[in-house]
């Protein structure tokens, strides 16, 4: 019996030390040993406790031997068990001192214990390492092995399993706040739940041939594309299209995962999609490298709830590899975002979206002066409060280390609309960002009203992105002395579209014959109009007033923004009748009197 105890103590020690980062054990061995260490510790505990009880009873109470060394070993042993349980059940997540303390006590305490244990039990005997063989025996294949999927570019034809695209629901159990932010954001709703996208992808496939969908899918739906799917699908609820437009907090995704685990592919841009991009260039059109092969803790792919629970405990008890797998310095650079936020025609190379290139030329790109250098995430993933960027102090992991600037996953940009149908907080963030982007100034001279719009806040044009589907325009009303409306511009027509000769800041694409392309933006050959406002620049719009107007004039100018033109929404509504009309957002308003 004693021999067994001795062997087991050494097994525990060796298997523990092997996990030490200094040893740098190969990942495959690490993940097995981690489990073996924890599971055997529990088994051994049951063997040891009766033994310790009888041992103390026999020597201290009956034989009256008082061994100081023995007591120290005992106390250390209790400490190790306590810290071990803390690591397993709560973990070393970084947010509390106890995790860190437990880790150190567990690690260094074990060395002390083993020395004292040798002194106590053997006096001068040597270590026995034979039981390692036992460990090697209990080495089941813990979860299904990953394919060798390194460095796959998006245009690769190799396909992944749906299991490889770990569902974002799994991330939720520890990153609940980030999950919530993402689940209502535009990055989640880029495929089946986005009516505009669904119509456009279908249209692209219909007009240009089914294969053309790949171009859309490479950024919008990399998981489906790399799994060999030919098109994006939407969820069904019985015989009906599930209405996901108003669905909050990823409920559908969570329900799906509960029912089918990862058997069903999570389409769109999930947690792993972005957090497993290992390289990216600013070229655009999905110029990133995605590597799903990563170090997984034991039971991470387990379908059993208990196994899943256990894998989370394993991660928490030693989260270094987990952090390394999903974070990369690349993620702070603009080229990372550029891989999808710059877009060109796949055949003729004509630039369609150039947000990154606009940023590159702007003052925001200033790598020499770090205080002025602002990358994408500095505005779009930073918390906003009262119209200002105000970094959020808090944790990204539940119970994790407090960070001064938690990167929020609202991905606020300009599309407040689809996010806002799900979550108001998400919408607020985007509207605040929008409102901080531009300034208005108004003047009247020689019967000419001039309105200046300055792009003060954006490190790119206003509007950017698919600026051919964005409406930023001036809504002008001028009233004379008698309070009579003498001039107006930028009002809505009855059908919801903006009046024809309004001053809209946008770009208008024409096809090879110079005709506007409408929905088929990929047919763009000739730029018909570009009235966008580059970063930090001012654009002046002049309106001629009638010579006979009676001063004083009261002028009201609004800078309005609408995410999709009415005619676009009208087309999409044909397929998705529950879609509401996007509201008009008033970014700024100036009222002034001129004498």
């Amino acid at each position: 019996m004693r021999t067994i105890i001795k062997i087991l103590v050494f097994v525990m020690f060796v298997s523990g030390v092997l996990q030490w980062s200094v040893i740098d054990l190969s990942w495959e061995d690490f993940r097995v040993i981690q489990v073996a260490h924890i599971l055997s510790s529990i088994a051994i505990l049951f063997l040891l406790l009766p033994f310790i009880y009888r041992h103390i009873r026999r020597y201290y109470f009956i034989k009256k031997v008082n061994s100081v060394n023995g007591w120290v070993v005992f106390v250390l042993f209790i400490l190790l068990i306590a810290s071990g349980f803390y690591l397993l059940l709560v973990g070393n997540r970084g947010g509390d001192m106890f995790g860190e303390l437990s880790f150190n006590v567990h690690l260094y305490g074990s060395f002390l214990l083993i020395i004292l244990f040798i002194a106590h039990a053997f006096f001068s005997e040597k270590k026995q390492i034979t039981p390692l063989v036992l460990l090697a025996l209990i080495n089941p294949q813990l979860s299904h092995s990953q394919e060798k999927l390194s460095n796959i570019e998006v245009n690769s034809t190799r396909s992944y399993h749906s299991e490889d695209w770990t569902s974002s629901t799994k991330c939720k159990s520890c990153h609940s706040e980030i999950f919530k932010q993402w689940s209502n954001s535009n990055h989640k709703h880029m495929v089946g739940s986005n009516p505009y996208y669904m119509v456009m992808e279908t249209l692209a496939g219909e007009v240009e041939g089914e294969g053309f969908r790949k171009w859309c899918m490479s950024c919008h739906n990399p998981s489906a594309l790399l799994n060999g799917h030919e098109k994006t699908t939407h969820d069904m609820e019985g015989n009906f299209l599930r209405d996901e437009i108003f669905e909050k907090d990823g409920q559908g995704l969570i329900a799906d995962f509960k029912e089918q685990d990862n058997f069903r592919l999570e389409e769109g841009v999930s947690c792993v999609t972005c957090h497993r991009i290992t390289d990216a260039s600013s070229k655009g059109n999905a110029s990133y490298t995605l590597t799903l092969e990563r170090k997984k803790y034991a039971f991470e792919d387990s379908k059993a709830p208990l196994g899943h629970w256990f894998s989370e405990k394993l991660i928490n008890s030693n989260p270094d590899e987990h952090k390394k797998s999903y974070m990369d310095p690349l993620y702070k650079e603009s080229r990372y975002c550029a891989s999808c936020h710059d877009e060109f025609h796949p055949k003729n190379g004509i630039a369609i979206v150039s947000t990154f290139k606009e940023w590159e030329k702007s003052e925001f790109n200033n790598p020499k002066d770090k205080s002025k250098h602002k990358t994408c995430i500095d505005c779009h993933m930073t918390n906003l409060k009262d119209g200002k960027l105000s970094p959020l102090r808090g944790t990204s992991t539940d119970g994790g280390v407090i960070k001064e600037d938690v990167k929020v996953h609202y991905f606020s940009g300009s599309n407040h609309f689809l996010a806002g149908l799900k979550d108001k907080k998400n919408e607020e963030q985007t509207i605040e960002l929008l409102k901080s982007s531009a300034k208005l100034d108004v003047d009247v001279k020689d019967n000419t009203l001039s309105v200046g719009v300055t792009n003060v806040g954006a490190g790119h044009h206003l509007p950017t992105g698919v600026a051919d589907f964005r409406e930023l325009w001036l809504d002008v009303s001028v009233k004379d002395r008698d309070d009579k409306l003498v001039f107006s511009s930028g009002k809505l027509k009855e059908d919801g579209n903006i009046e024809d000769d309004s001053r809209v800041f946008q770009k208008v694409f024409g096809d090879e014959n110079g005709e506007p392309v409408g929905l088929l933006f990929w047919r763009y050959k000739i730029l018909l109009k570009d009235t966008r406002i580059p970063s930090k620049q001012r654009r002046v719009e002049s309106f001629a007033l009638s010579k006979s107007v009676k001063y004083p004039l009261s002028v009201e100018v609004k800078l309005n923004f609408r995410i999709y033109p009415q005619w676009t929404t009208d087309a999409v509504k044909k397929a998705f009748p529950t879609l509401p009309n996007p509201p008009i957002i008033e970014l700024m308003k100036v009222e002034k009197e001129f004498k």
Binding site: M1, I4, L39, L47, L134, L137, I138, N139, P140, Q141, L142, S143, H144, S159, H161, S162, E163, M198, V199, T202, L203, E206, V207, E210, G228, M236, G238, N239, L241, Q260, F263, R264, F299, S302, K303, A304, L306, G307, F310, L519, A571, V572, K574, A575, F576, P577
Partner: protein, 397 residues
Amino acid sequence: MKKLLFYTLILAITVLSVIVSIAYLTPSKVIPKYSDDKLRELALSKGLKPTPDTYKKLLELVDDASNPMSASKIALGRELFFDVNLSKNKETSCATCHSFDKDLKNKGVMSKMISSKEEQINNCVACHLKDQSGTDRFTFSQGDNHEPHPYLLNTQTVLNTAFAKHFTWSGDVNSIKEQSKNSFLAHYKMNITEEELQLRVAKSNKYRAMFDDTFEDGITFENINKAIEIYVKTLVTRGAYDRFLDGNNSAISSDAKRGLANFISFGCKGCHSDIALGGQSIQRFPLRDFAQVYDLKPNFELFPEIKRFDSEFPFENSGGFLGKDKSHLFRVPILRNVTKTSPYFHNGAVPKIREAVNVMAKHQLGRHLTLEQIDEIVAFLRTLEGNIVEYDVSESK
């Protein structure tokens, strides 16, 4: 006490190592690697056949003296198939559930829909029907007045039923004509009486002329269904798989070829046989009793997956259908275009094809497929996707 503990430990270790070594040492059944030509030869020898690529070949295979095929009958059947006036509320046609577009050349449904002035209510056709492969994602069939099927049965494909011997989920019906009659009369489908149907058809000049051309006895209930039967018989699809069987080695991927080999070797082809890969026989499902109550998955994890199932099927049996004679007998479904018609099984309870393959392997073959094997079989099933062949009907007679 000590001894007891010692022996328990030894025993536990022995048992564990025996289990682990059995698991490691048991060789998995190796499916030989076939060359492309060998594989084709094997498939053909096991009764798998391509669909005919010409009308002449189709006639040789499916023409029947009791209701011979003719160009005028096909045209008539086509008109009837898409005519919503033939249902009680004038809302439903055969194509409501058996959905594909009447015009096989129509490739611009979406463009047409979004540019049309009329208000439209969620028209699934726009996204799903521009490929003529009978894509549908409906869980259960709904007939006139949106009345659901009493058993909530999923609509089975009409494509390639020309090669089937049995029809409907229970396999009780023996001809397309018979099922066409049932569908007209059933209150949860077209919901119309024989007399009313004949009256409505007779009202149309177009139909009167067409019937006079085609049948000697003009408009009768029998003839209406005969015409529909003939039209349905021309709804045959061809895909990459057929081109492979016809001798084109590069028509399907290497994954799909391994999938085909698996499909044959595992025994799927035993029931999913002949040209249509199904529709030839009536079989029991689920076959294996062990699956009925608990599903214990030997996944070599410490915590096996235990799931309580419906006592009848390895999925929820909404609708309560129990097969022919309530004895779990089902007509083997046709696998052509199966990847386009999720969800699966008689009540559409299984949403994804990979899971459906898994269920079939587990409960019909008693096999636990690896994820790779499932992928390969799905890759093979994808090669069965194909659009309806536009036969040149005038080419022969």
